[in-house]
Subunit: 151 residues, 2 copies
DNA sequence: CAGCATCCCCGCAGATACTG
DNA sequence: CAGTATCTGCGGGGATGCTG
């Protein structure tokens, strides 16, 4: 099997591949920007962008960094997929050095940095407002708690 | 239905409120704010928040509004699920009027408005930068598939 | 009309094995 | 070390039907 990423498998799979990892594998019939938004807000996309905002990372290094915040880390496959999607969208720059052992550095492009900053802002807002959220949750849960109440 | 963050897809809005008595508390091992972030950045969460930023909506009305931007609309189930999650997180206010036929209005809370504004900013950034993204995509595609069959 | 319950299927995502 | 191809599962999420 050739090295071509999209060579193997069916034609349908080739199309799927590009969107995968970013959580947007459906119809392209929707507004195109929605797709990019899904890539950026995708599960691992968010974390990758935030991490890369600090500095550039190598593959395994990035994987560890993401795993640190997310408890159950990201698989190599999903990380690769996510990075490819973001790279294709022009948000992430991939610098593969032709050495042995291989060394690849990932960093943000100018475009990616803009996106990442938006994402980070959102993430930080969430962190700051966690107290309010948890309070709201308790109120919600208690309001509809079935048990706990003497019948 | 345990709150499985791990296997979950892009949206972590699953889980909802059934964890009250369940013994699934492992998700708490990761930074809790990550969960809220997933709710907010979830597929339909994003769209719902943005729509509600304009004005309050009724259920079916909101469903139509979301379907307008997303081409392939959201099912009632997913919309209800999303709204419940956001309501539990204290981002959305649900106003159920005890009339017949039932009328329920959804609107943003103060907290929700803050989140929604962040999300909208991100969405609008995406819209504005679409040209750059599409350009990057073409470059990426052409670089990796110059002519698969030319051998 | 709002929205929960049930069934079921597709596709995302994880694990594994292999390559350069 | 940095990926890639493949198999499989399992859960997200759509469709349908029922209730208040």
């Amino acid at each position: 099997m050739a090295v071509s990423v999209r060579g193997g498998g069916t034609a349908a799979e080739a199309g799927t591949r590009a969107e995968a990892g970013a959580g947007a594998g459906q119809d392209a019939a929707m507004c195109p920007y929605r797709l990019v938004l899904e890539h950026v807000t995708s599960r691992w996309g968010v974390l990758v962008l935030i991490e890369l905002l600090e500095r550039s990372y190598r593959f395994a290094e990035l994987r560890r960094a993401v795993g640190r915040v997310s408890e159950k880390g990201v698989s190599e496959k999903m990380l690769a997929q996510t990075l490819q999607t973001l790279e294709r969208d022009g948000l992430v720059h991939r610098d593969a050095k032709p050495v042995i052992p291989p060394r690849v550095d990932y960093s943000l492009t100018g475009l990616g940095r803009e996106a990442a900053e938006q994402v980070r802002a959102l993430a930080e807002w969430t962190r700051q407002r966690m107290a309010d959220v948890e309070q709201a949750r308790q109120a919600y849960d208690e309001a509809r708690a079935p048990g706990a109440r003497a019948s």
